[in-house]
């Protein structure tokens, strides 16, 4: 309440109170205003609207569905690999196809599923959670989706043409260099990486600005929901980590396309340069995937433990610490390369250090559950599954921080087991929890609880059956990335067990799909806030209207909805006939000024097409780059050139203002 008083006092332009008239007149006005808002914010009808949409919910939904489809294709590839490895000297897949498949599996899961799906959730949820009408640059969000989609489609088209990348998801040189990988397979991989990076960077910048400048009044920094905090940290990590991938893949592409020598030792280049640059991205990447999942967990636990989260400040600091430390770990992927011992010791220490903030998070969640009254619904089950699996994965991680252990286990199935425990446990289980938790918000209907429990137990059992044996296989010396092994090794039984586990896991995912398809049509109607949750996305209808909130909320406490009453104030005075939003100040979210957001436009789609044509063309000839720039320029003009209908809501042209108006507007705008 204090902040509310301060807001009104500090901003003399705001007039209060707004006096409500007679009740039924108000209701009529409200109905009228809702219709105007809907008219203003909705997408154009039909297919054109689908291609030009700038609604963050439409974009987010598509992004989630697309990423989930890539999760399924990556999963199918995983099953194929498991079938191949189920017995010694199997001939189901040949070595060449196996190489392509494990590369496609890793690339798909990292670049087309894990990063994009986390961003997709943020595109949908962050504007709702901070209480605004849309994401800050909606056309950029649309562009991000298209370029991501085209990148993924490109990868699979080349794969089906037998030109799928085959050098592993981290494409080490010299294997991936022009000498040992002639042909176009690695080029396809480098371009795919570029597509995903552009998509990810665009979203990262949007999330930062949406959170910093568009929060509902009263949502000061210390009241931002924890999920949103994780997305801020992750977005900054993307901004600083992704350029390393961009640079390393550009170097690789240039080495292969125009004969530069970055990774060619014969001409002064260096092969370890690739590993340094790749892992400078690749390690933060792990946390880019993991931290949003901790955000899901921090959202789900307080709601199902029915109490505010324990240790909010400690959790926020832990997330930030995770973000920083994750940039100091990359060399632990390179212990086997013979780097100086002092350097290795530093990275061992840093690797062990990151267990501390991760541990703080685990303890805060445990304390929340311990002191709350836990409801064991499906989202919560997935969170508990996350605890079990992720803690195991974290422990094997600490083991491998030790250089001697790492040297022993490097490139064995132990590593495969470790990172699947971390990534599936740390990201996929919370993600499925998030599906169950937010499905009612996305669709207006609940996912089935019975199928949900079946879904969880199949995935949990299947996962452990599939991946636990790999620890033992790794300790027994089975190397990763081999398409088969000999019967004398004695690895057959454990591999068969892992394959059975993989199939059970896949069955669990199938149950989820059935559950989702059933529930969309026949699920229980959810209502605005079926879980009695505390964050702002639950303050509006499910699914939310195109304008998100009829009146922007005013936040009066950390748990926005738990500290709210029907008498709580809201924001009035935003135009409903224009896409007008409220910009607030970064620290205290006090109202600052109003802004008109751009509406639907075909430019983002055209730009994505132009950029895709450029990238794909550049696989074959460097001349695609200058030619593509012309196309990109044209698309940008379509995107940004002023149109009459865009200007209806803007301030008048400067020449049409009086001298006095101009001076006043200029003074208020500084």
């Amino acid at each position: 309440m204090k902040s509310q008083v301060m807001t009104a006092a500090a901003t003399p332009d705001i007039e209060a109170p707004d006096i409500n008239g007679e009740a039924d007149v108000t209701a009529m006005h409200e109905e009228q205003e809702r219709r105007t808002l809907e008219e203003t914010w909705k997408d154009p009808p039909g297919f054109r609207g689908w291609l030009t949409s700038t609604d963050h919910k439409a974009i987010g939904r598509r992004y989630i569905i697309t990423a989930f489809i890539f999760f399924l294709t990556g999963g199918v590839l995983a099953v194929l690999m498991r079938v191949q490895l189920s017995r010694p000297e199997n001939n189901f897949l040949g070595p060449d196809l196996y190489n392509q498949i494990f590369t496609m599996h890793g690339t798909t899961m990292m670049f087309l599923f894990a990063i994009p799906v986390m961003e997709a959730f943020a595109i949908y949820l962050v504007p709702l959670m901070v209480g605004t009408r849309n994401i800050v640059f909606p056309r950029l969000a649309a562009f991000s989706y298209w370029i991501y989609l085209f990148g993924g489609v490109m990868l699979y088209v080349f794969f089906f043409l037998n030109t799928g990348p085959d050098t592993g998801w981290f494409s080490y040189v010299t294997l991936a260099g022009p000498e040992f990988s002639p042909g176009k397979r690695v080029d396809v991989w480098t371009r795919l990486v570029n597509f995903t990076e552009i998509a990810a960077l665009a979203v990262a910048v949007e999330i930062i600005i949406t959170v910093f400048k568009m929060r509902a009044p009263g949502m000061s920094l210390n009241r931002i929901p924890l999920y949103v905090w994780t997305m801020i940290v992750v977005s900054f990590m993307i901004v600083f980590a992704m350029p390393a991938m961009m640079i390393s893949s550009i170097f690789l592409a240039l080495d292969r396309l125009v004969g530069t020598h970055f990774y060619n030792p014969a001409e002064g280049g260096d092969v370890l340069l690739w590993q340094h640059l790749f892992w400078f991205f690749g390690h933060p990447e792990v946390y880019i995937i993991f931290l949003p999942a901790t955000g899901f967990v921090s959202s789900i636990i307080p709601v199902f433990a029915r109490r505010p989260i324990f240790g909010y400040t400690a959790l926020v600091l832990a997330i930030i610490a995770n973000g920083f430390i994750s940039f100091g770990l990359w060399v632990h992927h390179m212990f086997a390369t013979g780097l100086p011992q002092l350097g290795s010791s530093f990275f061992t220490a840093a690797t062990m250090l990151i267990a501390i903030p991760s541990g703080i998070q685990i303890f805060c969640w445990t304390a929340t559950m311990w002191t709350g009254r836990v409801r064991l619904r499906t989202p919560m089950l997935f969170v508990l599954g996350f605890f079990f699996i992720f803690v195991l994965g974290g422990l094997t991680g600490v083991m491998q921080a030790s250089v001697p252990v790492d040297l022993q286990l490097h490139d064995t199935f132990f590593v495969v087991a470790h990172f699947h425990y971390v990534l599936i446990g740390g990201a996929v289980f919370p993600l499925f929890g998030a599906f169950y938790y937010w499905f009612p918000k996305f669709t207006g209907r609940m996912l089935g609880e019975g199928l949900g429990k079946l879904n969880f137990w199949l995935m949990f059992t299947g996962f452990n059956l599939a991946f636990f044996p790999m620890h033992i296989l790794g300790l027994q010396g089975m190397p990763r990335r081999v398409y088969t092994y000999l019967p004398e090794t004695g690895w057959g039984n454990l591999n068969l067990l892992a394959t059975v586990g993989g199939l059970v896991l896949a069955l669990g995912v199938l149950v989820f799909i059935i559950n989702a398809l059933r529930s969309i049509r026949r699920g229980e109607v959810a209502g605005a806030n079926p879980w009695h949750a505390d964050t702002l996305e639950w303050a509006t209808a499910s699914p939310p209207p195109s304008y998100n909130f009829f009146r922007l909320p005013i936040v009066q406490g950390r748990e926005a909805l738990w500290t709210r009453s029907p008498e709580s104030p809201v924001v009035t005075g935003l135009r409903s006939d224009c896409r007008e939003i409220l910009i607030t100040r970064t620290m205290d979210a006090e109202p600052d000024h109003k802004l008109i957001l751009p509406g639907p436009n075909v430019g983002p789609l055209l730009l994505a097409l132009a950029a895709s044509a450029t990238f794909i063309g550049s696989i074959f000839t460097p001349w695609a780059l200058p030619a593509g720039m012309v196309l990109i320029f044209i698309a940008l003009l379509v995107w940004a050139w002023p149109r009459q209908q865009d200007e209806r809501c803007e301030l008048p042209r400067v020449e049409e203002m009086t001298e006095e108006e101009r001076t006043r507007e200029a003074a208020r705008a500084q």
Partner: protein
């Protein structure tokens, strides 16, 4: 019905410059990304320097100094019209913004033209050795930004001269100025690395 005290924002300004505006933050985000890319290129430069005895590796000769130094001063001089664009835009003085934007366009075209000769002044090709690869890549990335900045400036000039003088396009002009400052500022580092450093390292 209990009377609620709502927050009426209808009289807030609809225009804001600098860090109050979301577009300013957008440009800063872009600059952070591009800046990180260039910094990683600088790191690569020193990393590769460390791999060989002589820099540039013989028989590659040193880069020439004359044209790059002239262009450095042209770019530094371009900060003057950019500053005036920014200042008049913030005062909503469209006439002056238009004049200074045209000056920016001319200076921009001048240094993009000189850039061609700066590539020649490197005295090495990208496929000669790793030294050539990294200096060409740094030049390439910077030139990409330089050209897109000049094109953007010309487009904004065109928008203003087509009569779209709503204040939001003046905000665009100031954000464009921020991008310009970045490009000139980081070029000072690139210049030192590309043309001076090989003489000392």
């Amino acid at each position: 019905m209990k009377r609620r005290v709502d927050l009426d924002v209808s009289r807030l300004p609809s225009l804001a410059f600098g860090s109050r505006a979301v577009t300013w933050w957008g440009v800063v985000g872009f600059l952070l990304i591009e800046g990180t890319m260039l910094v990683l290129c600088f790191v690569t430069y020193f990393y590769l320097r460390d791999r060989v005895l002589d820099w540039p590796p013989p028989p590659t000769s040193l880069p020439s100094l004359l044209i790059p130094t002239i262009n450095l001063f042209v770019m530094l001089a371009s900060l003057v019209p950019v500053y005036f664009v920014e200042r008049s835009a913030k005062r909503l003085d469209v006439r002056k913004v238009k004049i200074w934007m045209v000056v920016c366009d001319v200076v921009g075209i001048a240094f993009v033209t000189l850039r061609w000769f700066e590539f020649v002044a490197l005295n090495v090709y990208w496929d000669t050795n790793a030294y050539g690869s990294i200096v060409w890549t740094i030049m390439g990335i910077h030139t990409f930004h330089l050209v897109s900045e000049v094109i953007e400036t010309i487009v904004i000039t065109a928008i203003l001269f087509r009569g779209h003088t709503e204040p939001k396009y003046l905000v665009d002009a100031t954000d464009n100025a921020l991008y310009w400052y970045f490009i000139v500022g980081i070029w000072v580092v690139c210049y030192a690395l590309l043309y001076l450093a090989p003489r000392f390292l």
